[in-house]
């Protein structure tokens, strides 16, 4: 029998992939370039004849980072577009709510744009993440800083959201593994713009490692403020959420010395290397803009999707796709990661890279 | 005992004494008028009764209740209804709805019976409506029953205010310049209406009015005020001929 005939989102000449993303809300800086990056791949693949003769249709619903809109997006993707799989959906709560709908139908959720551990919650069968979690990033980053500088007290500045709590817990775990103390924490709101108070508190507590789970704009301000206050022995550590080229490029060297533990390498720091250079050229050709880090992630996730679809063969069903995903094992030169999946391993890359800003660019200092 | 009693009431706004040690009583069944120059404190007296202001000193009693102990809405519940000098109607509602709000103090239903619109609620609505229709007939407002207040001319609004106050079925009716803005013809209607309100409905009327024709035509007693204090109190004729009143209020010519 031909399994795909019963599988939604797959027809003779088309595969529908969906995404509930943020194209206009507070995370548009992530969602927009990632979506564009993915489109570059799909457009190219489609132009070359598609995968096993099927064109890929990538349908992105804008959730504006709001739950009701996200639910409408899922309704459309599942009931109207009848997607085969989801790719790069953004937002932990939105993804988690989506699982309730995807799981019963066995629809795969691939490479969500959040590094929360919940992305691999049970049933894990149809869930695949690309990268290490915020938790691991914070944990490993803390250990690195301790090893490198002998720092003794870890503190966390975070937004009280699941994103923040993941990083808080990772930092605590890192401190424990390194055998140092977890000193203090401060909580924030996304509209906060001044951090002198929290920083003096952290100074008072003797913090010398500060992990951060803040918005990008806020992270920049924190680092700049600390400079002004002369808190030079405090090492600031962000995660993949702060690992943006713009953070390194803030004028005046404001962010110099800022660490980020992420699961990929910075794009522009490696612009000369062949894979990034080829990507930059292709992206620019396709969109007319310079890519940013998240364009690269979108691109690489789409590449992975195409690889899996190819490996699944012409008889595309959820089972064959999941089997194909689980068989993937390749080096992604663009992001600098070995991607390996297996029946019990639904997290593609496990490496955490720690980079630091030096002279307006990210420099890799450690990987694990 | 008077129905309404003011006892040495004083009210100050900053440095200004708007009501100055004022005492008077309104007897049940009479039409009592207050006159006085602009800014004498007449409307303020009304506002004191309505409990919009707390007096600085003194006591206000109505029908055995100490008004100073209760909130504004309770005053209406005791049976005091009023109109406003500057017209305060519910603009975005019809005349009928305005009058029905007047029935509020007689509400017997509660939240639940209203949401379910039980037979009791229905009966109450019909009764309210009958009562309000009588007032509409009485004040000749039939033509405006379903009109929005916002589209009514000044004169009609004045009458609607009186109607709304009557709809509360009060013991004491406070009218703040009921005839201002009315033509001579309408003023004479108003005169007969007030007369009927007192005689047929048995409602005591306390009114502020500048139209001396109306005042002397309907009122039993008149209080003249100036600068918040009592100037004269007596029958219309007495007050009108009181030299201080002529001097401060009526002017020599009249």
């Amino acid at each position: 029998t031909i399994g795909w005939a019963q599988t939604q989102g797959v027809s003779d000449d088309e595969i529908v992939i969906g995404s509930v993303n943020d194209l206009s809300g507070i995370f548009a800086a992530v969602g927009v370039p990632a979506t564009k990056g993915a489109n570059v791949v799909f457009d190219r693949v489609n132009a070359e004849g598609g995968v096993h003769g099927r064109q890929i249709r990538f349908v992105v619903e804008d959730n504006g980072y709001q739950m009701p809109r996200a639910m409408q997006g899922y309704n459309k993707l599942l009931n109207r577009d009848k997607v085969f799989a989801m790719l790069q959906s953004l937002g932990t709560p939105m993804n988690v709510a989506g699982f309730k709908l995807l799981d019963p139908k066995g629809i795969p959720n691939v490479a969500p744009l959040t590094a929360a551990r919940q992305m691999l919650q049970e049933p894990m069968k149809n869930k695949f993440t690309s990268f290490s979690t915020y938790y691991d990033q914070a944990r490993i980053g803390v250990k690195y800083l301790n090893g490198e500088f002998g720092s003794q007290t870890v503190c966390t500045m975070y937004l009280p959201t699941d994103f923040g709590e993941e990083i808080l817990e990772g930092s605590k775990a890192g401190a424990e593994e390194a055998g140092i103390t977890f000193g203090a924490e401060t909580t924030h709101k996304p509209d906060e713009t001044d951090f002198v108070g929290s920083l003096s508190k952290l100074k008072e507590e003797g913090c010398d490692i500060v992990t951060m789970a803040l918005g990008v704009r806020q992270a920049i301000t924190v680092v700049g403020t600390a400079k002004k206050m002369g808190l030079t022995d405090m090492k600031f550590l962000g995660t993949s959420a702060s690992f943006l080229t713009v953070v390194a490029q803030v004028p005046g060297g404001v962010t110099d010395g800022f660490y980020a533990a992420a699961s990929w390498l910075d794009l522009w720091a490696r612009a000369e290397e062949p894979a990034p250079a080829a990507f930059i050229a292709e992206y620019k050709e396709a969109t007319g803009e310079d890519p940013v880090g998240f364009s690269m992630l979108g691109y690489s996730a789409a590449e992975m999707m195409v690889k899996a679809l190819e490996a699944a063969g012409p008889d595309l069903t959820h089972e064959s796709f999941i089997a194909a995903m689980e068989s993937l094992d390749y080096m992604d030169e663009l992001v600098g990661n070995q991607i390996t999946y297996g029946p019990d391993d639904h997290q593609g890359a496990d490496t955490v890279f720690v980079s630091v800003v030096e002279n307006g660019a990210w420099k890799l200092v450690y990987e694990e | 005992m008077s129905l309404l009693e003011f006892e040495s009431v004083t009210l100050k706004f900053g440095g200004l004494t708007a009501v100055d040690n004022l005492s008077f009583g309104v007897q049940e069944g009479e039409v009592f008028a207050i006159v006085g120059p602009n800014g004498a404190g007449k409307s303020t007296v009304f506002n004191l009764i309505s409990r919009f202001y707390d007096p600085y000193a003194g006591a206000i009693r109505f029908d055995g209740h100490d008004l100073l102990r209760v909130k504004p809405s309770a005053v209406a519940a005791y049976g005091v209804a009023r109109t406003f000098q500057n017209i305060e109607l519910f603009e975005h509602a019809t005349v009928l709805q305005n009058l029905l709000v007047g029935r509020h103090r007689h509400r017997k239903t509660n939240l639940f019976s209203e949401i379910l619109f039980t037979p009791a609620a229905r009966k109450q609505e019909i009764e309210n409506r009958e009562m309000v229709e009588e007032i509409i007939d009485f004040l000749d407002l039939q033509a405006f029953r379903d009109k929005m207040i916002s589209g009514l001319p000044y004169g009609v609004r004045k009458v609607v205010e009186v109607a709304r106050a009557l709809a509360t079925d009060p013991k004491l009716l406070l009218l703040d310049e009921p005839a201002s803005g009315l033509s001579v013809e309408e003023t004479s209607d108003m005169r007969w209406w007030i007369d009927d309100i007192r005689r047929q409905m048995g409602i005591t009327v306390l009114m502020v009015e500048h139209d001396m024709g109306l005042v002397s035509g309907v009122s039993d007693r008149v209080l003249a005020m100036a600068d918040g204090a009592k100037l004269a109190l007596g029958t219309p004729a007495e007050v009108q001929s009181h030299p201080a009143v002529v001097e401060a209020y009526l002017g020599k010519a009249s």
Partner: protein, 291 residues
């Protein structure tokens, strides 16, 4: 020492809130409308300046870009009134409020389209400079913010209370009909105030972008500035500044001394407290209609 630093940084930050709040109050004072897009105006002002100044865009000299961008913002404020808000003349203020919320959506969209969604910083001559006195540090941008805010508040205050036009604006907000009877060209006056609000938003945007960075969602800061304006008493210009300063100061102190998990609540909790005890804000007295 420590507290002095908190205070002074809080004041500088509060001035930014105050600046945005001024924009709210300006429009409210002259039209009684609440411009929910004021925060987005500020964001736009910041991006316009970045677009003129930053080397990756037009790269004009900062001091040249400054007046140009303020002019652009003024023109924009005027056009928004002329083309959109004015069509609602005499309609209920709720309609205007909803309109400005929708306008905020459009501005955010446009900014994202033109300047992208990543945070950007204004390249400016003050960047990185700071002054120190006795262990306290204050960035030059902060100094600029404080000076400009105080001057602007004072200037606008004088404008409203002392000039004929300012008085006319207040009159127009209280009774449009009466203002017309006095011969005040109410619509033109409102156009002027929207232009002025555009300029004030431009100033706030420039200072904000110089102090930190902006992205299209920066305008959401407007909500906090709105809260600040309300704390001060919505119709009062010095009140707006004071409200901004209070919020600005409370934040660092709360983060410093209040337990994590609660500290970030401080500005809004303060707002609730102020409103409960002073229902019309700190700086305006309660008014009751005389009947």
């Amino acid at each position: 020492m420590d507290n002095a630093q908190l205070l002074i940084s809080g004041l500088a930050n509060g001035c930014v809130y105050g600046l945005i709040a001024l924009g709210f109050v300006l429009i409210y004072k002259a039209t009684e409308a609440v411009n929910f897009a004021q925060g987005d105006f500020m964001m736009l002002g910041a991006f316009v300046t970045i677009g003129l100044t930053n080397t990756e865009y037009m790269g004009l000299p900062f001091w040249l870009a400054l007046p140009i961008s303020l002019m652009i913002m003024g023109a924009l404020g005027y056009l928004i009134d002329r083309l959109i808000i004015r069509r609602l003349f005499g309609e209920s203020q709720t309609a205007v409020v909803i309109l400005t919320i929708a306008l905020g959506f459009v501005i955010r969209f446009a900014a994202g389209l033109i300047w992208g969604h990543e945070p950007q910083t204004l390249q400016n001559p003050l960047a990185g400079k700071e002054i120190r006195f006795g262990g306290l540090v204050l960035g030059m941008e902060d100094v600029a913010v404080i000076v400009v805010t105080i001057l602007l508040t004072w200037g606008l205050y004088v404008f409203f209370s002392k000039t004929k036009l300012g008085l006319a604006m207040q009159g127009a907000s209280q009774n449009q009909l009466a203002a017309y009877y006095m011969g005040i060209p109410v619509k033109r006056v409102q156009g002027f105030i929207w232009a002025l609000a555009g300029v004030v938003a431009g100033i706030a945007g420039i200072l904000f972008a110089a102090k930190g960075s902006v992205d299209p969602t920066t305008g959401l800061l407007g909500i906090k500035a709105f809260a600040a304006a309300v704390i001060g008493g919505f119709g009062s210009l010095p009140g707006a500044l004071a409200g901004g300063l209070i919020v600005g100061v409370i934040e660092p102190f709360a983060s410093r001394y209040v337990a994590a998990g609660y500290s970030q609540i401080a500005p809004y909790a303060l707002l609730l407290a102020v409103l409960i005890f002073r229902p019309h804000g700190l700086f305006s007295q309660v008014r009751v209609k005389k009947v």
